[in-house]
């Protein structure tokens, strides 16, 4: 009630509302007129309107109230007033009576369904179908079938739309109407055709052949309604998706129909067709071109909706086919100043994806003007797009970094600032040249940063990166300012950062100690504690000595104990004479769902802890492996490959393998999951047959003691191989174990088990496993600096290929190297392509590769491969990989 009372206050005199001061109780009283013997139909309509108003404003009726209103409303069926009847229909739908009340109105509604008045028929159908349940439906079926082919389109639509809703709960009944629905598809009324087509597809959706037939027959052009035509396009795309085969002419089936729709007179249909084409699986440039042409025309439309739809579609295309969208760049640029900010943002992010290196500066200038007047959510989108642009064109880091620092200084909310900071951090990490100016921008930002979280994250990052720069001292001022000016959280974090500089940079030590000593009198205990700890461990008692590796490791080393394990151990610790021993905490990662690990690897959380990002998985693996004594002598882990599944999905035991490559060894880590609740597996090992991998010799196996249900665990097998040689081979695997039955009710396993084994898929060590994907920011500089001493050039014929880009990707995958400067994308229709790759070969040799491809009319691909590296044998090895 309060909201109505409030309305009285803020409505002015002249803002008169007929519902001023309306109250539920009073309206419910008024509803008694429905029971009068002499019905005043106008009055009754008014009361219903008031009831609807209350419901629409969010007022709720109690069960009793609703029932009472419903019963009295049913009395109004006596009235012959059409207007009143329509209001009655409406309120019945709004009240949604329960199934035990519905019977009161069914006979009246069924009478209306057969009435001569079209309005009655159409509405009675809609109401009845809304409130009815399955049992009543069989009685209605005959009338509904008639209504579907009723000559009045309103009645036909009402029946068809009701059919669409009823299909959810009663598909069997609705399926029986198929003949009538088919007839309605041929209706002359546009909307009837639309509704009939939707229902017909729903009836046939599980029958591929029938859908295909439906599409084929209608594609010939009997559909008049634009909405129905849109549906037809959707169904056609579905058929195309499911029928992968091309016909003899090499044309995609139905492509001609989609392309024909691009010339339809309704813009709605054109848009739908263009979008359908852009979303085709493996769409080619030739197929895309006509769709992009019509979308380009939409870009200059006077209607914002059309511009939005076009730019949104092109934006999506630009993610996969940037080269095909470049033809729209000029139109896109004019959209940067579009009134509609959504359109402008989409235009900018599209341009950032399609633009070339030379256009970056001009684009940035335009964006700067634009940034000031859009909302934060749009700005974040732009910032993310700029980050990817910068990674694509590392040479432009100066312009882009400046842009980021400029917008960092302007007003903005937390999410926006965080997006900018994240971007700067990623750029610093990936583009070495950008490090110093990036760090200084961050320093300036924390001088005036209102977000504690961001300040502490930046301080931590400074502590990691700052000491490695040529002149670490210039950051100290910014950091110490935090100790003076900020809140306790930031101060504590600044103390840690200072200490890190002290530990890493010996010449700075005396000055750092002075600063840290001042912190001993801080008002906050955490700050004081940290300062004391660092002073004591770093030797701040006067003697300036080189800090011990152990101390460094203790203070700043990565914390290699899983926090979960530490937490459990601490909880279990009973306060006794014996102090808590951290080495007693188990290091084995107990439960590590693979999905989580994957997502952590994919999404580099820019600011999270010590070198996060793509290396984090390697870090975890490295820790995991070094914690196993058998493998601790293998030395530095070179590479851990992405997991390869060795079982099909949904088998009894799910196993995947991670290959860890060392200089002289290879370790297979089998991640096993037992998916049978009634089983406990013990002594799980993988028996590897390396007869097809001659250069490998098995040296160690680490069995898994127990594998309970749904708890992933690992078993390992290690092989020795000749040092430095990229030995390849195929390994066949058998999982062996002892099965013990588990009583599901108690969870206890039986004493005795049975030996069993389980065949796994083979796994291979390939040449790409010895290559680490490491990008370079400036390929040409890197190429020049490696020099031609160990350059090896040769030409290869790759035979007939589907397309140039397919050939390029095949070679990239074969070598397992990182494509640089976006050269993995092959321009549409081009006959030649140059691709630049970089990587680190086992033995830590830097390798750069320049690939030149050419394709002739018969699709024969030839390739020139130029390799530069620091070692002749490495260059040769790369050629061997390709030659084989």
């Amino acid at each position: 009630m309060s909201q109505f009372a409030k309305k009285d206050d803020d409505r002015d005199e002249d803002e008169y509302s007929p519902f001023l001061g309306i109250e539920k109780g009073a309206v419910l009283q008024e509803a008694r007129v429905f029971n009068d013997s002499q019905l005043d139909s106008r009055r009754c309509s008014q009361v219903i309107t008031k009831l609807l108003y209350l419901l629409n404003q969010g007022e709720t009726f109690t069960k009793v109230e609703a029932t009472e209103v419903f019963f009295s409303v049913t009395k109004l069926f006596q009235s012959k007033d059409i207007g009143l009847r329509r209001m009655v229909y409406l309120i019945i739908k709004e009240l949604s009576p329960s199934s035990d009340e519905v019977f009161i109105v069914t006979s009246s509604l069924m009478k209306d369904m057969n009435s001569k008045t079209d309005v009655y028929r159409a509405n009675a159908i809609r109401v009845l179908c809304r409130i009815t349940d399955g049992t009543l439906l069989t009685q209605l079926e005959r009338y509904l079938k008639q209504a579907i082919v009723d000559k009045n389109p309103v009645v036909a639509s009402a029946a068809l739309v009701s059919g669409i809703h009823l299909f959810q709960a009663n598909p069997e009944i609705v399926k029986r109407w198929s003949n009538e629905v088919q007839e309605a598809v041929q209706s002359k009324a546009a909307l009837v055709q639309f509704h009939a087509l939707a229902l017909l597809h729903q009836i046939r959706q599980n029958d591929r052949l029938a859908v295909s037939k439906l599409v084929t027959s209608l594609a010939r052009g009997s559909v008049r309604s634009p909405l129905a035509q849109c549906l037809l396009i959707r169904y056609t795309s579905q058929v195309i998706r499911e029928a992968s085969a091309y016909d003899q002419s090499g044309e995609r089936p139905f492509y001609a129909f989609l392309e024909g729709c691009l010339r339809h007179k309704s813009e709605m249909v054109i848009l739908e067709a263009a979008r359908a084409i852009t979303e085709l699986n493996g769409v080619t440039s030739r197929e895309l071109t006509p769709a992009i042409t019509v979308l380009q025309l939409f870009l200059s439309s006077s209607k914002p909706v059309l511009r939005f739809a076009a730019v949104r579609t092109l934006n999506k295309v630009a993610m996969t086919h940037p080269m095909d969208v470049t033809s729209c760049n000029i139109d896109m640029e004019s959209l940067i100043s579009d009134q509609n900010r959504s359109v402008a943002t989409l235009a900018i992010t599209t341009l950032l994806k399609t633009g070339n290196e030379s256009g970056v500066d001009r684009l940035m200038k335009q964006i700067t003007n634009f940034m000031s007047d859009i909302a934060d959510e749009f700005k974040i989108v732009v910032v993310n797009a700029i980050r990817s642009l910068c990674l694509k064109f590392p040479l432009k880091y100066r312009t882009l970094m400046n842009f980021l620092s400029n917008i960092l200084r302007e007003e903005g909310g937390f999410e926006y600032k965080k997006a900018i900071i994240d971007s700067i951090v990623i750029l610093i990490r990936d583009i070495p040249d950008a490090k110093e100016c990036g760090l200084l921008h961050l320093c300036e930002f924390i001088e005036d940063c209102e977000f504690t979280y961001l300040s502490t994250q930046i301080l931590h990052f400074l502590g990691v990166e700052g000491p490695k720069t040529p002149d670490p001292s210039k950051y100290i001022r910014y950091i110490y300012n935090r100790v003076i000016l900020e809140n306790a959280t930031v101060r504590a974090s600044a103390v840690s950062t200072l200490a890190k500089f002290g530990a890493m940079v010996d010449p700075l030590k005396p000055r750092i100690f002075v600063l840290l000593r001042r912190c001993l009198y801080d008002s906050d205990d955490e700050v004081r504690d940290r300062a004391t700890l660092y002073l004591n461990t770093l030797g701040g008692d006067g003697s300036v000595v080189e800090t011990d590796e152990d101390v460094k490791d203790f203070l700043f080393g990565s914390f290699d104990i899983p926090l979960v394990n530490l937490e459990t151990s601490l909880k279990n610790y009973e306060p006794t004479e014996e102090p808590f021993n951290i080495s007693s905490v188990p290091r084995e990662v107990k439960c590590q769902p693979l999905a989580e690990k994957k997502s952590a690897g994919k999404k580099p959380t820019a600011l999270g802890g010590p070198p996060a990002g793509p290396t984090s998985t390697v870090d975890t693996f490295e820790k995991l492996l070094s914690s196993i004594p058998e493998f601790s002598t293998f030395g530095q882990l070179f590479k851990s490959c992405a997991p390869v599944e060795l079982t099909e999905a949904e088998t009894e035991y799910a196993v995947n393998v991670v290959k860890h490559i060392f200089d002289k060894h290879v370790v297979f880590q089998y991640n096993c999951t037992n998916t049978i609740p009634e089983q406990l597996l013990e002594n799980v090992v993988v028996v590897v047959d390396a007869s097809e991998a001659e250069e490998f010799a098995e040296v160690a196996t680490k069995p898994l003691k127990a594998l309970p249900y749904d708890t992933p665990a690992q078993t390992f097998v290690a092989f020795e191989k000749p040092e430095g040689i990229p030995a390849v081979g195929r390994f066949s695997n058998v999982l062996k174990f002892l099965v013990k039955e588990v009583d599901p009710s108690t969870g206890e396993a039986e004493e005795d088990g049975v030996e069993d084994e389980y065949q796994l898929e083979d796994l291979e060590i390939v040449a790409a496993d010895y290559m680490l994907k490491v990008g370079v920011s400036n390929f040409r500089n890197a190429w020049e600096s490696l020099g031609p001493d160990f350059e090896r050039v040769d030409e290869y014929g790759l035979g007939p290929r589907e397309s140039l880009s397919e050939a390029v990707n095949a070679v990239i995958n074969l070598l397992g190297m990182q494509p640089c400067e976006g050269t993995e994308v092959v321009a549409a229709n081009s006959r030649s392509h140059t691709c630049l790759l970089s990587g680190v070969y086992i033995g830590n040799g830097k390798v750069l590769v320049r690939l030149s491809f050419g394709i002739d009319s018969s699709k024969e691909v030839a390739m020139k491969l130029a390799v530069r590296s620091e070692d002749e044998s490495v260059s040769d090895a790369i050629h061997d990989v390709v030659a084989n």
Binding site: T49, G58, L231, S302, P304, V305
Partner: protein
């Protein structure tokens, strides 16, 4: 997969809103459970109203992405009309619904399109929403047909369209 959801489905309308110049409800209708409570609905209305308030959507319908939905809107005098559809919806299909909505409202209010007139003919506004969309399915997009269906009843009643029930003291 998002695309398949989009491809196989009918264009669906999530809500139709008719708000006044201060963002208060005149008549609204929701067709999904995306906003389960009245409070959630009000919050949606408030934020979309605030977000679009400063734009000029008088001559041409405007469009905005909002909370993973596409919202089309148009202002006529002091009335604000909104149509919401899913992220992947064909914008022009939604535009045709908005077009029908605004034409029908204009016809029903006989050109006197303002919030007071709309409130005084609220029964017609409710009927109008009811004729445009049925439980999310587009029922009719032609403004004059929608208005025709709403208005028939008053005519059959013998009362002219201009006659307003609610002007009489309640």
């Amino acid at each position: 997969m998002a695309t398949s959801a989009r491809r196989d489905a009918c264009p669906a309308i999530k809500n139709l809103l008719l708000l006044d110049s201060e963002g208060r409800r005149v008549a609204v209708k929701y067709y999904t459970d995306e906003w389960p409570t009245n409070a959630a609905k009000l919050a949606f209305e408030r934020s979309i109203f605030a977000k679009t308030l400063k734009t000029n959507a008088r001559t041409e319908a405007e469009i905005v992405m909002f909370e993973n939905n596409v919202v089309l809107y148009k202002f006529i005098q002091d009335l604000h009309l909104f149509v919401t559809g899913g992220d992947n919806e064909n914008e022009l299909a939604l535009a045709s619904v908005l077009q029908g909505f605004s034409e029908a409202v204009t016809l029903l209010l006989r050109g006197n399109v303002d919030q007071r007139e709309a409130l005084e003919n609220l029964d017609m506004m409710f009927l109008c929403l009811d004729e445009i969309v049925d439980a999310g399915m587009i029922l009719e997009t032609d403004g004059s047909l929608i208005a025709g269906k709403v208005a028939t009843h008053s005519i059959d009643d013998g009362a002219p369209l201009s006659e307003q029930y609610l002007v009489r003291p309640l």
